[in-house]
Amino acid sequence: MVGPSRRMGGRLARRPRGTIMTRRLGALCALAVLAGIAADARGEGGAGKRRRPLPPEYGRVLLGEAGQGRMAPVAFDHWLHRARYTCRLCHVDIGFAMKAGATGIKPADNEAGYFCGACHDGKRTVDGRRIFEACGAGGERQACQRCHAVGLPVKPGTDFAAFARGLPRGRFGNGIDWEKAELDGQLKLVDELEGISIKRQSLTAQKDFALSPKLAGMPEIIFSHAKHTVWSGCEGCHPDIFVGVKRGATRYTMVEIFEGKYCGACHTSVAFPTLDCQRCHTRLVK
C-alpha cells in the first residue's frame, strides 16, 4: 500500500511521512527490546565516571598480593614521603621502580638496608624521631602490620587532615598544591641520603618550552624543566619515560598520556592528575 503523496506522481522530495513514522516506531520498539535484553544481561554497566580516589588515597600503591597465609599487602601512600623527600631520592638513588610490583622488594632487601630499609633501618632519624625498622624486629607479626595492613584494622600513624591543613590547597589528587608548597618553602625536600646517594652538584635546569596541542582552541602547554627537576632530577624521566632526543619529534597524544605513558607515568597516579587540564594547558594562543 502506498501513501497519497506517492500517487501524486513525481513530487517526492522526501519519503512519505507515514513510512518514516512506521520505521521510527519499529526502530524504537526494536531498540527497546534489544536494550531490555542487553541491559538485563549486562546489569548496571557502562563506562561512566569511576570513583575518584579521595585525597588521602591518591598516590596509593599496593605492594604485594593478598592470599591465604600470606602477609597482608602494603598500601604505600605517597603523600607522607613526598612532603620530605624528592621523587629522585627514592626512584633514582634508592632505586624504586615506578610501577607496583616492578621493584621486587623482598624482606631480605629491607633488612640489608636497601629499598624501604634504606631509611627504615631503626637507626636513621627524621625530625628527631627514630625511623622504625622495616622487615626486622625478629619477624614479629605485630611489627610487620605497621605496613602490611591492607584489610586489617590498623590506624594510620599520621592523620591526613591534620597533615594537609597547613599546606596550600590544590585541585584533585591529594588536594595539596605540592608545587606551591615547595616554592613557598613549606617543604624542605631532602634530595640526598647518606651512604646511598652520591654527592653531587646542583642541577642547572633547562629552559621552559611550549608544546602545541593538536586540538584547536586548547591553550598551549608550557613545559618547565625547572619545575620538574626540583623533584625528579634528570634520570627520573630520561630516557625511560621520554626517549625522544629531538625536540618536537615525538608526537604525544592525550590518549597515551591518560593511559600512563609520557607525562602520564606520574600525572595519573602520584603527581597532580591530568584531569586538571588547565594546570598544563596554560597559555592561550591568540
Binding site: 561512566g48 584531569l275 588547565q278
Partner: protein, 262 residues
C-alpha cells in the same frame, strides 16, 4: 498502513512493559534520576539511601558533585561511607552541619558514631522513599519550571531561561580555573536513514559539566571518539553515561536527533 501501525504500537507496548530496560523505560518524573546508594548502609542495619537528583541539580552543576566533590556516576561505585562523610568527603562536603547555603544550615550527614535505635536522624536519608510524599514535593518543586514531554523538568530550558541558576563553586572544595572555551557543535551522523543526524552542542553541555565530567573518562580521544551505537548508549556508554539515568531520557529522540532529514 493501519495494520502495520497497530502492530508496531502493540510491539512497542509489549516491549516497554515486558522488558523494563533501563534504557527505554518511560520515566516517572519524581523518580527519574534516582540512585540507590548501598555501599555500606545495609551492613550497618540501615535502609539504603534513595538519592533523587532533581533536588540537587536545580542548585548545583553536575560538575560540582561529579568532579569537584568526586562522586562516581554509577550506583555503588563511589563507596560513600559514614566515616568519609564525617571527614568532609562526598555527601559530607556540603552536609556537615555547618555550611550555609541560601541562608540555611545544611544538615550533617552521618553525624555520630553509630546509627541510633530506630534510625534517628539517619532516617532523613536512609529511608524507604514515600511515593505519595515525593510526588507532592516534586510537584511543588517543579511548579514554576518548564516541563518536558514526560512531565519531568526540562532542565536545559530551566537554566536557559534563568529559572534556576545552578552553582558551580563550593567554597573550600572547588578551585577556580580559567574556563576553556569550546563552542564546537558536532554533527554525529545517524546510521538509520529515517533518523535525523544528532547535533551535539559543546556549549549546552559545558554549562552543566565543564570539561572534566566527560573528558577524559567518558571521551578520551580528541576526535572521532563519540561513535557509539544506540545499543551501547542504552547500556550506559558514551552519551548513556548521563542520558537516560539522570539527564533527559533517551526515549525523547528528537532532543538529540534535531538535524533535518536529508
Amino acid at each position: 498502513m493501519r495494520r502495520i501501525h497497530l502492530a508496531a504500537a502493540a510491539l512497542c507496548a509489549l516491549a516497554l512493559v515486558a522488558f523494563p530496560a533501563r534504557g527505554m523505560k518511560l520515566p516517572i518524573p519524581h523518580e527519574y534520576g534516582r540512585v540507590v546508594l548501598d555501599a555500606g548502609a545495609s551492613r550497618a542495619g540501615l535502609p539504603p539511601v534513595a538519592f533523587d537528583h532533581w533536588r540537587h541539580r536545580a542548585r548545583f552543576t553536575c560538575r560540582l558533585c561529579h568532579v569537584d566533590v568526586g562522586f562516581a556516576m554509577a550506583a555503588g561505585a563511589t563507596q560513600v561511607t559514614a566515616a568519609g562523610n564525617q571527614a568532609g568527603f562526598h555527601c559530607g562536603a556540603c552536609h556537615d552541619g555547618k555550611r550555609r547555603l541560601w541562608g540555611q544550615v545544611i544538615f550533617a550527614a552521618c553525624a555520630g558514631t553509630a546509627p541510633p535505635a530506630g534510625g534517628g536522624a539517619c532516617r532523613r536519608c536512609h529511608a524507604q522513599p514515600d511515593p505519595a510524599r515525593l510526588e507532592k514535593e516534586f510537584a511543588a518543586f517543579a511548579r514554576e519550571l518548564p516541563r518536558d514531554r514526560f512531565g519531568g523538568v526540562d532542565w536545559e530550558k530551566a537554566e536557559g531561561t534563568g529559572k534556576i541558576t545552578p552553582s558551580d563553586f563550593l567554597e573550600g572544595v572547588s578551585i577556580r580555573r580559567e574556563p576553556l572555551k569550546n563552542r564546537k557543535e558536532i554533527t554525529l551522523q545517524s546510521k538509520g536513514t529515517w533518523m535525523s543526524d544528532v547535533l551535539f552542542s559543546h556549549p549546552k553541555h559545558a554549562v552543566w559539566n565543564g570539561c572534566e565530567v566527560c573528558h577524559p573518562e567518558i571521551y578520551p580521544a580528541a576526535a572521532g571518539g563519540a561513535r557509539a551505537s544506540m545499543l551501547a548508549i542504552t547500556g550506559g556508554e558514551s552519551c548513556g553515561a548521563c542520558h537516560d539515568k539522570v539527564a533527559f531520557p533517551l526515549v525523547d529522540c528528537e532532543k538529540c536527533h534535531v538535524k533535518p532529514v536529508q
